[in-house]
Structure formats: structure tokens, C-alpha cells
């Protein structure tokens, strides 16, 4: 069954700020500057935008603040993310809006700010006392997000025999990739020994497995293939989008740790795109925690179940490997952007504009976002 929205939206502009612990800009200024960069890249005026996709919520400015800042005559469509993939999923939602005629030119962005002193971090526990699911976790000292993920990773390691060296091979490669990415926060190469010496923050999760919170914004401009004909840059087609989650959407009480929500997004994405995993030249795989790549690679069909560790051990993920991953260094080394950095890099690679990181063959790619309970996927191609 052909998807009527397939290839009916294109990405024509991209903007991407540096990733840094403190860019010295307000979230609004950082976001607007990045959106303007994306519009300039496309050759569009701000007033030509009639759609905005962003999740909003402090500190990220939402669609209303953006619509007000662009100086146009109102907008036809605004929305958040399409399900749970965050960065890729705001782009997916904009693509659906354009493809279905709700608007003709949309900006989609994700802004993250590194926590400042006194900010709360990823912590599920209300200070006034845990309610709901947290009532059954917080009293046991289980209230920080990385603990949830560490429990999943531990099982993955024991059931499928994933080794420290295999995960290290991924992280070492990301630091190396990031050394060719001027936007990256962690751009100094590391050795396997340095990875193995990296302290456990929550065993089996190491410090170097976790992405670094940074100030960052990534933005893209989405329009119709017809309008793209008169614009500056070669359009990148949105072949398909998907999202999904499992039947027990709480990470710790999830009933099968060997199956992440990517399983449900995978059931949709390839049919929508009319392409398969083997058609992808490279992967932009979400890695907010580096071991998330294991689930994503397996669920979306890039490697057989239980084989992702071996794929890293064999160097499959390297620029010269069987299926290169995240040439920008991933969120792991570029910085925590909820995978909007993956989207920006995908566009640059597909346009042949990735400079020292440019892959030899880059005509189709798969991007995903979301951690375990959340999933969103995007197929882009030339």
C-alpha cells in the first residue's frame, strides 16, 4: 500500500547552533537565530513561513512565540512532535502538515539548554512526595532517569552478551567523528582504555555512555516539492515518518525489556517510505545513552536481534564500515539535542555539504529519536 504523503514534503533549509555548556544566549534568541539561519539557507523570508512545529515548554520557545517573531501575517498550522521521537518527530509533524496541505512552508526546531545551577535535572520525584508510579520507585532510591535506562542495559548485556569493548567501540568512534564537527561539544578523540576507565554513573552505564547537556538549537525548513524548485538548495525528500509505543508505557514496569517502543514505530516506517533498511546508506541513530543504539539498530531491522554489539565490535558503524552511523558524533559526542542534531547532519550529508565528515555514499538515511518508551522515525532521501 502506497502512502499518499510519501515524498510530498521536502527539507530545504537547515540551521544548527554550536553545542556548548553556555552559549551566552537566551533560549528565544538562540532559537530565532537558528531558525533564521535555516530560512537563509533555504532562501526564504521569515514572513513566508506559515507553519511551526515545536514542542515548546520552558526553556524552548513554543510555536506561538516563534510565529510572533517571524513577522508574518499569521500562520496556518502549528503543532508539536508527532509522538515520541522529539527532534526527528517535530520534523515529521511539519512534514505531515505540509504534505497534507495544512500549511505550505513550516519551520521545525528543537532547543535544549544545559541545566544552570539550581535547575532541576531529569528527576522523576516530586519534592513534596512521590505519587503515581513514583510512589513505587522513589522510596527505593530509584528516581533518576539514567537508573531506569541502566536497568534495561544490564539485561541487554546479560541476555545478549554485549561487552564493554563493543559499546566502547561505538563511543570511541563518536568522539572521533565529533573531532570533524565544529559544532560538537566533546570533540577530543578518546582511546578504548579511556572509555573503559570512564566511571560508572549507574552501573552498567558509564559517564562516557551519557550525552552531555548543552545549549543547542537545530532547525529545518519544510516545504512542498513544487515550492522547492525555486529555492537555493537541493531538496531532501521526507520519504516516511512513524511513531509508536508499547502496551505498558512506563520504562521500569514495562513487561518486556528486550523490546523497546521502536518495535512499534518500525512496523510502520518502511511501508510508509516504500524503502527498507538495506536501502539506507547510513544511519542517524539516537544515542542519548549510547546503548540505546543497540535497541534502535535491532528494532528497526539494521542488524538481527542481539547482533548490535557484534556490529560495533566489527566496526560496522565506522565511516568505512558496513553501515556508517552518526558521522557528526551523535548526541553522545556532539551534545544532547534530542536528536535534532541527527536531522541537521542527515540533511548536510544528503546534500554533500558535510565537509571533512562527508560520507562517500549518502543518498538515503534513517533517523530515529526517543528513548525506550518513546519512538519516532524519519526516512530522508535525495
Amino acid at each position: 500500500m502506497s502512502n499518499p504523503l510519501r515524498d510530498r514534503a521536502v527539507i530545504v533549509g537547515v540551521g544548527h547552533s554550536p553545542c556548548s555548556r553556555d552559549l551566552g544566549k537566551s533560549p528565544m534568541r538562540l532559537t530565532l537565530e537558528t531558525v533564521l539561519e535555516a530560512l537563509d539557507d533555504a532562501g526564504l523570508k521569515p514572513s513566508e513561513v506559515d507553519g511551526v512545529a515545536a514542542m515548546g515548554g520552558a526553556p524552548e520557545p513554543g510555536p506561538w512565540a516563534m510565529a510572533e517573531s517571524l513577522g508574518g501575517d499569521g500562520i496556518h498550522w502549528y503543532g508539536g512532535a508527532l509522538g515520541g521521537g522529539v527532534g526527528p518527530s517535530v520534523v515529521a509533524n511539519a512534514a505531515l502538515a505540509v504534505a497534507s496541505g495544512l500549511c505550505h512552508t513550516a519551520v521545525a526546531y528543537r532547543t535544549m539548554m544545559a541545566p544552570r545551577p539550581g535547575d532541576s535535572t531529569y528527576n522523576f520525584m516530586a519534592r513534596e512526595g512521590p505519587t503515581g508510579v513514583a510512589a513505587f520507585t522513589a522510596p527505593y532510591g530509584l528516581g533518576v532517569f539514567m537508573q531506569y535506562f541502566a536497568s534495561w542495559y544490564q539485561r541487554k548485556r546479560r541476555v545478549f552478551g554485549v561487552t564493554d569493548e563493543q559499546m566502547g567501540a561505538y563511543v570511541v568512534a563518536m568522539r572521533d567523528n565529533a573531532s570533524r564537527n565544529p559544532h560538537a561539544a566533546l570533540n577530543k578523540p578518546i582511546t578504548m582504555d579511556e572509555y573503559l576507565a570512564s566511571r560508572f554513573v549507574c552501573e552498567p552505564l558509564r559517564r562516557f555512555d551519557c550525552d552531555l547537556p548543552v545549549d543547542v538549537c537545530g532547525a529545518v525548513v519544510v516545504t512542498t516539492p513544487e515550492r522547492a524548485k525555486n529555492l537555493k538548495k537541493k531538496p531532501v525528500f521526507v520519504g516516511g515518518v512513524s511513531t509508536g509505543t508499547g502496551p505498558r508505557p512506563d520504562m521500569i514496569f514495562w513487561d518486556d525489556y528486550d523490546r523497546s517502543s521502536a518495535h512499534w514505530a518500525n512496523e510502520i516506517i518502511w511501508n510508509n517510505a516504500g524503502l527498507g533498511p538495506k536501502d539506507m546508506d547510513f544511519g542517524m541513530i539516537y544515542d542519548g545513552f549510547a546503548p540505546l543504539t543497540l535497541y534502535n539498530l535491532e528494532e528497526y531491522g539494521f542488524v538481527p536481534r542481539g547482533e548490535a554489539g557484534r556490529y560495533f565490535g566489527d566496526g560496522g558503524h565506522l565511516a568505512t564500515g558496513s553501515f556508517p552511523l552518526n558521522p557528526h558524533g551523535g548526541n553522545n559526542s556532539e551534545g544532547r539535542s534530542h536528536a535534532i542534531g541527527h536531522v541537521c547532519e542527515a540533511v548536510l550529508q544528503l546534500r554533500g555539504e558535510a565537509g571533512a565528515r562527508q560520507l562517500k555514499k549518502a543518498d538515503a538515511t534513517f533517523i530515529n529519536g526517543g528513548a525506550i518508551t518513546l519512538a519516532g522515525a524519519l526516512v530522508l532521501h535525495n
Binding site: 522510596p139 527505593y140 530509584l142 533518576v144 549507574c202 552501573e203 521500569i252 514496569f253
Partner: protein
Amino acid sequence: MERLLPVIDDLNRYYWEAAKARRLDMLRCQDCRMWIHPPRESCAKCQSFELKAETLSGRGKVYSWSVMRTQGNPGFEEKLPYAVVVVELEEQKGLITVGNIDCPIEDIDIGLPVRVTFEKINDQVTLPQWTVAGGKDGQ
């Protein structure tokens, strides 16, 4: 800082009352017999609202675990490193609960048989916890 204790409400009161009486109770669908935890209003399988607390055997196996080595959980500042075990209860595949365990961290592994114990915190709250089954008291 003090350990965070559960806010007891109408939905979860059965659980904490049972724990005070040294029982592990969870909601069970009275129509299709599915166990439900954490509590919710309706059965995830058959949409029945007829959920009632029933008592479990208190036996299960370690499904996974993590060892926390970073601050962030109130009341656990002095306890680092400590393990949190994820336990799959014997009554139903995928019926998951969590807790701390009283064995050395090195002894924890997937499939380790465990049974519930009870840690009284105060007059309102007793926490179900976990110990290795077949331990020194022969159980």
C-alpha cells in the same frame, strides 16, 4: 536528606496497608484474572473496572538490576553504591516490581530467585523489599 516516602492515596492504599501487615498485595482483574501493577483504574487487557487486591506468593526472580553510583536520590546519599533490583513475580510473566535487596551486589544476577521481606519505616509505611530465596532461614 530523608528518603522519599509514597504519598498514599485511594488508588494505592491497599498496597501499603497490606505491606504493613507483611503481605504483598496487588490489583487483580476479577473478570480476566490479570494482575496489574502499579495500580490503575481499569484492566489493561479486558477494560474491566472490577479490580481487587489479592495476595501474591512474594516470590519472583531478578529480571534486571542497576547499581547507583551518583547522588540524586534523597535519603540515599550515604548508601552509594546501592542496587535496585527489578523483580518479575512468579504469578505472571511481565509482572514487574522493584526494590532493594539485602545480598552483596556481586551476588545479583538475572534469574536469581528472590522472596519478599518487609522493612518498617514508620507507623504509616512499610516497604516490601527483597532477599535471596533459599537463603539462611531455609525459605
